[in-house]
């Protein structure tokens, strides 16, 4: 990662999100640079996904500011986010089960003929082209995606993101539903996307995934960011300490860390 005074791709400032009385995200600031992967880790309910939903438009922030390439952005719904080239890949629930792969890839941004009809053959051939790159074994272009495996569905979701030239990718537990081979496939894809200059936020429970892929790791605890660290500068124990105790490496006592190890 090149640390230059360049404009960050994403600059989230003082984001707050509440659900009724629950303050899920408290005054969080976070940035992301082109070609960088920032891992977001933390307990269930630490606020990682909620923070990312503010960026993906699924649930707008209550207060705070989001700058995309230095410009203040208003993100009220997923369409706004997509117009800013922000794409999200979810663990589940991102595909319409009864529609085929090309339909899902182009859902919301369908290709149409000059008469305004759906251009099924163009959508299918575009889908074939991109899937050839991502997953050459994928051939089920005419079936409803409900009949496909988790890996195949995730490939469709990723294909959708990169087809539309995403510059900012949010991956929310992208490999949680996948087997080892499919996970490895996603990892190599992630590295490829980074080298294309795409900025990626990765939410994961898997510390190894995060250490493997991240340029920086941000740890969230009770709606706040405890610290943002580089994987080379910390041990996985220290990160676990931050996740579980909510304390920075220096702040946790030896005793507390010992308790974690047992």
């Amino acid at each position: 990662m090149t640390v230059a005074p360049e404009t960050p791709l994403v600059d989230m400032r003082n984001i707050n999100i509440s659900f009724g009385g629950l303050h899920a995200v408290r005054d969080v600031s976070l940035d992301l640079h082109p070609g960088e992967l920032v891992g977001l880790v933390g307990h269930n309910g630490a606020g990682k996904s909620t923070l990312m939903r503010a960026l993906s438009g699924a649930h707008p922030a209550d207060s705070g500011e989001i700058l995309i390439e230095g410009k203040t952005a208003t993100i009220r719904n997923p369409r706004d986010a997509k117009n800013l080239a922000i794409e999200t890949i979810y663990q589940t629930l991102a595909l319409a089960e009864n529609i085929d792969a090309p339909g899902n890839m182009f859902l919301g941004r369908e290709l149409t003929t000059r008469l305004g009809n759906l251009d099924d053959s163009s959508m299918e051939s575009e889908a074939r082209k991109i899937m050839k790159r991502l997953n050459p074994n994928f051939t089920s272009f005419k079936q409803a995606v409900v009949t496909l495996s988790g890996g195949q569905r995730q490939a469709i979701a990723i294909a959708r993101a990169i087809y539309f030239n995403a510059r900012i990718l949010i991956m929310d537990e992208p490999t949680a539903a996948l087997g080892p081979a499919e996970t490895a496939q996603v990892h190599s894809l992630v590295r490829q996307l980074k080298s294309d200059g795409i900025g990626i936020f990765l939410i994961s429970h898997d510390i190894h995934d995060v250490f493997d892929l991240s340029d920086r790791i941000s740890v969230m605890y009770h709606g706040r960011i405890v610290a943002t660290v580089k994987p080379a500068e910390v041990t996985s124990d220290e990160v676990l300490g931050m996740i579980i105790l909510g304390k920075r490496p220096g702040e946790a006592t030896e005793e507390e860390l010992d308790r974690l190890r047992t």
Binding site: N77, A94, T112, L118, S125, E126
Partner: protein, 336 residues
């Protein structure tokens, strides 16, 4: 990776491939058509007098129900349901019959038909707006509007009556040139071709299936879920107005009391026709065939002098059977 790249690789799709995938996609409807053919044979056996005239009669009496089933199918595919269809039909039919009595003239009737279709759009828009804005379940909203439209129908026409323009009657009664081609069937095909086929080939059509399959995924994909849901009810209201007009055309009058079985049969036909009540699956051709099947079963029971009440029982049993078979198929699919 650009969206504007020209098509390089054509998807496979020789004629044989296409017929194969058509048969696979429409297996349920084709099976239903086969059943319909058997049923027609049986009808001829049960009532040797059942001839070409009877076929026309069946088509004329089935037309309003078939249109109601199309209307219902659209909203069910989008994941909703419309219980107010039969009173939308009663209201639009009464308005049409009353206006055609009050302002006779074949030319004026064209204007009246257009007005009534617009009223159908408004009724659907009210349903859709209430469902989207109040977030009250659609089954409750449309049950409430069922009573509202029924009340308006009685205000328009306290008793059955009115008139229908001759050309309107001519559209649905009798055969077209040759006896075995009922005009009502032709009209149904034309209407479906003009409404459903463009819809299913449009972005809105895909959005209907998407919000019916998984509203959250559709929302995350950038589909305007609320707008799509609203438009589903608008289209349903528009088609229900055609159904109401076909009632006026086939009976020559408007009847203010909605036939409650219409809405039930429209739902039964939608289910029997392969549309999932959970949304996102099916089309309108299956439900149309299903309406004819249900009507013929009732007719056959009449021919065989079976108490018509048993006809209702039989329809209910068929429906349960279909639902059971349907969920079995779905279970097997999700296991595969």
């Amino acid at each position: 990776m650009s969206a504007t790249t020209a098509t390089i690789e054509q998807p496979r799709g020789g004629p044989a491939d296409r017929i194969g995938s058509f048969a696979r996609d429409n297996a349920w409807t084709l099976g239903l058509l086969g059943f319909l053919a058997v049923l027609l044979g049986f009808t001829k056996f049960a009532n040797p007098n059942y001839g070409l005239d009877s076929l026309q009669g069946t088509a004329t009496s089935v037309l309003p129900l078939a249109l109601a089933a199309v209307a219902q199918a659209v909203v069910v595919i989008s994941g909703g349901i419309d219980l107010s269809i039969s009173s939308q039909m009663a209201l639009t039919s009464c308005i049409a019959a009353t206006l055609m009595k009050g302002y006779p003239g074949e030319g004026v009737a064209v204007g009246i038909v257009i007005l009534v279709l617009l009223i159908g759009v408004v009724l659907g828009a009210v349903n859709g707006a209430l469902v989207v804005l109040t977030k009250v379940p659609d089954i409750v909203v449309t049950l409430s509007t069922f009573f509202i439209w029924a009340g308006f129908a009685l205000l328009v026409r306290p008793a059955p009556g009115g008139a229908a323009a001759d050309w309107l009657k001519g559209l649905v009664v009798g055969g077209l040139g040759i006896d075995w081609l009922p005009k009502a069937a032709i009209l149904l095909i034309v209407l479906v071709a003009l409404i459903w086929i463009p819809l299913s080939r449009s972005r809105l059509g895909l959005s209907l299936y998407a919000i019916g399959s998984n509203p959250l995924a559709a929302f995350r994909s950038g589909v305007a879920v609320n707008r799509t849901k609203f438009l589903a009810y608008v289209i349903t209201g528009f088609v229900a107005a055609f159904a109401g007009l076909s009632l006026t055309a086939s009976t020559g009058i408007g009847t203010p009391v909605p036939e409650p079985t219409y809405v039930l049969i429209s739902i039964a036909a939608v289910v029997l026709g392969g549309v999932s009540l959970a949304g996102g699956i099916g089309g309108v051709f299956g439900p149309i065939v299903a309406v004819v099947v249900l009507q013929l079963i009732r007719d056959d029971m009449t021919f065989m002098h079976v108490d018509p009440n048993y006809g209702l029982v039989a329809q209910g049993l068929i429906l349960i059977g279909v639902l059971m078979v349907g969920s079995l198929i779905q279970q097997r699919r999700s296991r595969a």
